[in-house]
Amino acid sequence: MVQPLNVLKESPSQTAGPYVHIGCTPNFCGIGGVWAEDLGARMKTGPVQGEEIVITGAVHDGMGMVLKDALVEIWQADSQGRFPGHDAEADPNFTGFGRSPGDMETGAFRFETVKPGRVRWTDGRWQAPHISVWIVARGINIGLQTRIYFDDEAKANAEDPILTRLEHQGRVRTLLAARQEDGSYRFDVHIQGPQETVFFDI
């Protein structure tokens, strides 16, 4: 026998189930008056620095069906690459955190945010602008982690430590939000199948 390590195990994940919105966005699903505003509904609390952008998209299952019961959360740096709450210089009118329950009828999520600045990789290299994404829903037993990059950041993307490291380079496009004619970005997530989004184990 040896001494115990006394390291605890992380609490096992469980699915968020079909009613995640009751707890995470109660106002959205008609439970009003418990608290005033759903968490993460607004990422901008005043005039913000940098380029304001809109990202919309949907989460698709392995049959190509859109999930109508997903909850998508994003976390990102401000326009100068500073994380709100962690960097005293960060934009005071930007929270960095967004939570979208998705449209009840179409399942589409939507974030009104700013284009993130670049932040460094662990060895000091610059990463391309990106947004961290976390997705939960009924049937998802442990939250899915991925990132949104931007298809109009070709130069930065070409030197990004993660994008350049993907063995299947054809899958890089699954991480790119596509600039639309109206100026917004479109980002679709495919949980499985030939277009499967690259998910992370971070």
Binding site: N6, V7, L8, K9, E10, S11, P12, S13, Q14, T15, A16, G17, P18, Y19, V20, I22, G23, C24, C29, G30, I31, V34, W35, L39, D61, G62, M63, W75, Q76, A77, F83, G85, H86, T95, F97, V119, T122, Q127, S132, W134, V136, A137, R138, G139, I140, N141, I142, G143, R147, P161, R165, I191, Q192, G193, E196, V198, F199, F200, D201, I202
Partner: protein, 244 residues
């Protein structure tokens, strides 16, 4: 956040064998909602080590009282206190963590337009609450005992009584949603969602014991539910750049 409450390095890798299998056919919805390709691993960067911070200012006085926070009147059902500590894998308390909870009412019915169970709605029960842990990671809220409920999966599947938990630690990499079950419930071992967890010790980690010491006499029973979030490595001998 104090330095001893969190390491300074990257996160210890998740033990994916301890967590539920993403693809678990007895839980039918998971079949088409589980990734098939290998997950991409990389060291945690500032994007994952940081995360949103929520101050006590967002919390209203009744946010942690599900018995009363919907209408002000008392919800129907056995009254319980749920308490515990949010800590990391090294046993360090995680202070300032946001814990959001939601659950069915005493009859097993959710307040949701997609809910199809015939059990009655309780006009005084909304089913959501939230609390922020104190400096040492402790939290408590009170609610009513949720009922078990049937759900469309197999011909006759019932969920054990449970409370859904969503937890924000200090980092986006710690983000976790899980469920708390109750000691002694015979439905736990029959549940396909619980069954997505392959390791029986991991299932035990989600079952809250009755905690007689924390009951409120003539008022409420108590259950203890500790939550463990991922921990960060110490950095005294951390090598940089981190190996890939």
């Amino acid at each position: 956040m104090t330095e001893h409450s969190t390491g300074k390095g990257g996160f210890v890798a998740r033990d994916r064998d301890w967590h539920p299998a993403p693809y678990h056919p007895p839980y039918k919805t998971s079949v088409k909602r589980a990734p098939q390709a290998a997950l991409l691993s990389f060291p945690t960067t500032a994007s994952e080590i940081t995360g949103p911070t929520f101050g006590h200012g967002i919390i209203g006085p009744q946010d942690n009282d599900l018995i009363h926070n919907f209408t002000g009147e008392s919800a129907i059902g056995p009254r319980i206190v749920v308490h515990g500590r949010v800590q990391d894998e090294f046993g360090r308390g995680v202070g300032g963590a946001l814990v959001e909870v939601w659950q069915a009412n005493a009859g097993g019915r959710y307040r949701h337009r997609k809910e199809g169970y015939v059990a009655a709605l309780d006009p005084n029960f909304g089913g959501c609450g939230r609390v922020i842990t104190d400096a040492d990671g402790f939290y408590e809220f009170r609610t009513i005992m949720p009922g078990a409920y049937p759900w469309p999966n197999g011909m006759n599947d019932w969920r054990p009584a449970h409370i859904h938990f969503s937890v924000f630690g200090h980092s986006f990499a710690q983000r976790l949603i899980t469920q708390m079950y109750f000691e002694g419930d015979p439905l736990i071992s029959l549940c396909p969602i619980v069954g997505s967890i392959q390791n029986p010790d991991a299932v035990k980690a989600l079952i809250a014991p009755l905690d007689k010491a924390r009951t409120v006499p003539m008022d409420a029973l108590a259950y203890k539910f500790d939550i463990v979030l991922r921990g960060r490595r110490q950095t005294a001998f951390e090598t940089r750049p981190e190996g890939l």
